[in-house]
């Protein structure tokens, strides 16, 4: 890079530091508590130097990063790990090691850890589903949690209303899980289709707010229609799946659910991969890149959008049933707008349109806050910041989408690429 004008840089950093001292002064330095109408102000002067030094330094970093971004834009980022893993010499042992790790996990670690891992797996499924809508279709969906709720409540309410009948008929309730899985997926799919039918004509931003609206309406319905949905207290004592007609202990059931989730994740990855290079998958990506061009090339946008919403919703249905089976308890609070946003974070941070990205995104979003409890209160702060920085400096996410490469035999020249 060119010469650095230190005088100018120092001046800019100093100005930034001063500006942020001013900006954060009331909120960071003063703290107000009002007890019985009496205000007490705590002065936290120590925050002034902290802010000053932090922003003095950050200002340098920021400018440096922006400059670097402008220089290296469009150039492929070096992806050493990806290149290494592309060779079978390295990829095969890596896959075997991963498989062993995943299979041994519930036996090697505690039930708590297993449950954390189940959460990760559930988020992978959610992420893969939302990725179809946001990553491939480019449609900002802010109400995805509603479909997740659809899945969870399908199972929960199925148990509430049919559980006694099953007992009466002498059928074990552990079977209900296996009925709920396909039923919930289909219900979510149909739900996704019906909900999107009327709003599909709306332009991008309108679509975002309408999906948000729809998600909130669903949650309020769950909360307020207690006669149907059991209201804010939710559904409890949902049965875990039984193994071969035997009721199993919670510890064992956790392992069992873990493996079911793992299998579902593997199936989901395979299916999403299949979709990715298929007629409909390409149509989604074309629609995302340029909707007018896509339409002019013969793609029916209405159909493509409907398909992406419906197929996306399907995965939320699976994930919902898994959640209910894992926690045995669900209530509307689990399906707020924040839930939708967290799933969105999984997709965006991992890498929109990228399957490995979704996996890494889920691991980070779920594991980091679990294992860094001391950071718990900073969790959302960091997520928020990460979203912004990711958009500015690495739009493709942690593991950006890789395009499929093809080789062709050319007479006389051998293979092209």
């Amino acid at each position: 890079m060119h010469n650095i004008d230190w005088k100018k840089e120092l001046k800019q950093s100093t100005l930034a530091a001063l500006w942020f001292i001013f900006l954060t002064f009331p909120l960071m330095v003063m703290k107000v508590a009002i007890i019985q109408g009496q205000a007490t102000i705590t002065w936290r002067w120590y925050n002034v130097p902290v802010v000053a030094v932090t922003f003095f330094i950050l200002s340098f970093v920021w400018r440096y990063m922006l400059e670097r971004r402008n220089f290296t834009q469009k150039k492929e980022s070096k992806d050493i790990l990806g290149k290494l893993l592309a060779q079978p010499k390295y990829s095969r042992p890596a896959i075997i090691a991963l498989a062993v790790f995943l299979l041994a996990f519930p036996f090697a670690f505690s039930m708590y850890q297993t449950n954390v891992m189940i959460s990760v797996l559930i988020y992978i499924i959610l992420g893969l589903g939302l990725n179809i809508v946001v990553g491939y279709g480019g449609l900002l969906h802010l109400g995805y949690a509603a479909f997740y709720a659809m899945g969870a409540y399908s199972y929960g309410l199925f148990f509430t209303y049919m559980g006694p009948k099953f007992i009466e008929w002498g059928i074990n309730t552990g079977l209900m899980f296996w009925i709920a899985i396909p039923a919930a997926a289909i219900l979510s799919l149909v739900f996704g289709f019906i909900v999107c039918l009327p709003v599909i004509r709306l332009r991008g931003d309108y679509l975002a707010i309408v999906t948000l609206a729809f998600g909130e309406i669903t949650r309020m319905f769950l909360q307020n229609e207690g006669q149907i949905t059991l209201g804010p207290s939710g559904v409890s004592q949902i049965p875990r799946p039984w193994l071969l007609g035997m009721k199993i202990t919670p510890v064992f059931a956790a392992k069992y659910v873990y493996f079911i989730a793992l299998v579902l994740v593997i199936i989901s990855i395979k299916v999403v991969k299949n979709l990715e290079d298929s007629k409909i998958g390409r149509a989604w990506e074309a629609m995302r890149d340029d909707d007018i061009a896509a339409q002019s090339m013969g793609i029916d946008l209405t159909r493509a959008k409907l398909a992406s919403f419906a197929v996306g919703a399907l995965w939320a249905g699976f994930a919902g049933v898994l959640l209910a089976a894992k926690t045995t308890f669900i209530n509307p609070e689990s399906f707020t707008l924040w839930e939708s946003i967290i799933i969105l974070c999984v997709v965006v941070l991992g890498g929109m349109g990228s399957i490995p990205g979704v996996i890494v995104g889920s691991v980070l979003m779920i594991m980091l806050p679990e294992y860094f409890r001391s950071f718990a209160e900073y969790r959302m702060l960091i997520f928020g910041l990460a979203l912004v920085l990711m958009m500015i400096f690495r739009q493709g996410g942690i593991i950006p989408r890789k395009r499929k490469q093809h080789t062709f035999e050319v007479e006389g020249e051998g293979a092209v690429k």
């Binding site: 900006l23 009331p26 922006l66």
Partner: protein, 300 residues
């Protein structure tokens, strides 16, 4: 009938607050086609700043009238400062990126600012003192319109008038309209687009902060989360009216305020928040570009 008038008035007051916030959404959208998701947080930060500065002054024995003035001014100053900084950090570097990227950045900023206030202050509700003067002439109709409500209506009316005059007649107003129509063209004829964008954020933040202080004085409490809900509602209002259209945002706000009040009063108060979303969906189904939004044909 009295019940209806009561509901109508409270709807009007709500609508006024939504309008003060929705202006910011509409303006920013008009100029950079971005849903400024973090706008609600600016409103909350304005109100919080007013609380901190105001409470400090009040406990030092400053008379209430002065406290109100200084609190309002500091709310506006800091809200504007946050608004401009927000734009410089989170949106400006993304001006040439896909719309989705800027929108996600905005969502990130919203999450960040909420949690920043949560950590810097508190996660609990804090009582909000009422510095608004109590008008004697409203004593008789207190049930329908109290002093706080009156003050909100008055402020909104004044802001709207000033705003309209500014957009119509000042040089900056004209520059803003030009930029909204065609950014590249505006730049060509010598308009400083960066400056216009900054001013847009300043104006939007200032009106939102005013709304924040007024509604918190009225409701008597505040926490870090109020901006999010109010922001979403105001945003719904802006979309209802036709996003990007300033008169549309104001109209949408009142429609929303009335729907909520009357719906909660006559139908079901459990669903007060849901009415906003239901009416949004209904209106967009009938008029996909909102009440006053122009059906623009995208240039290809």
């Amino acid at each position: 009938m009295e019940y209806f008038i009561q509901l109508f008035m409270s709807g009007t007051v709500k609508g006024s607050i939504y309008a003060l916030i929705a202006l910011g959404y509409a303006m920013v959208y008009g100029i950079i086609q971005l849903i400024n998701f973090a706008h609600g947080e600016i409103y909350m930060i304005g109100a919080f700043t007013a609380l901190i500065i105001g409470a400090t002054m009040a406990s030092a024995g400053v008379p209430t009238g002065l406290v109100l003035v200084v609190a309002l001014i500091s709310a506006m100053v800091w809200a504007a400062a946050y608004g401009v900084t927000l734009e410089k950090i989170a949106y400006k570097p993304l001006r040439n990126s896909p719309r989705l990227s800027a929108l996600i950045s905005a969502i990130g900023m919203s999450i960040f600012l909420q949690n920043y206030v949560l950590l810097a202050q508190t996660s609990n509700f804090v009582p909000y003192p009422n510095w608004v003067p109590q008008f004697a002439f409203l004593e008789d109709i207190k049930g329908i319109l109290n002093s706080n409500q009156f003050f909100i209506l008055l402020t909104t009316a004044v802001v709207m008038v000033l705003f309209t005059l500014m957009i119509r007649y000042t040089k900056m107003g004209k520059a803003m309209r030009a930029t909204a129509q065609d950014k590249a063209m505006a730049q060509l004829v010598g308009i400083n687009v960066n400056q216009v964008i900054s001013v847009t954020f300043v104006l939007g933040s200032v009106t939102a902060a005013l709304g924040g202080v007024l509604i918190c004085s009225y409701m008597g409490q505040i926490n870090y989360y109020i901006g999010f809900i109010a922001g979403i509602k105001a945003f719904v209002a802006a979309v209802l009216g036709g996003i990007g259209s300033i008169p549309g945002a104001v109209l949408g706000s009142f429609v929303l305020g009335w729907t909520e009040s009357l719906g909660a009063g006559y139908l079901s108060s459990d669903y007060e928040d849901a009415f906003a979303f239901v009416i949004l969906i209904i209106i967009l189904l009938v008029r996909p570009s909102g009440l006053l939004g122009k059906k623009e044909i995208k240039k290809v």
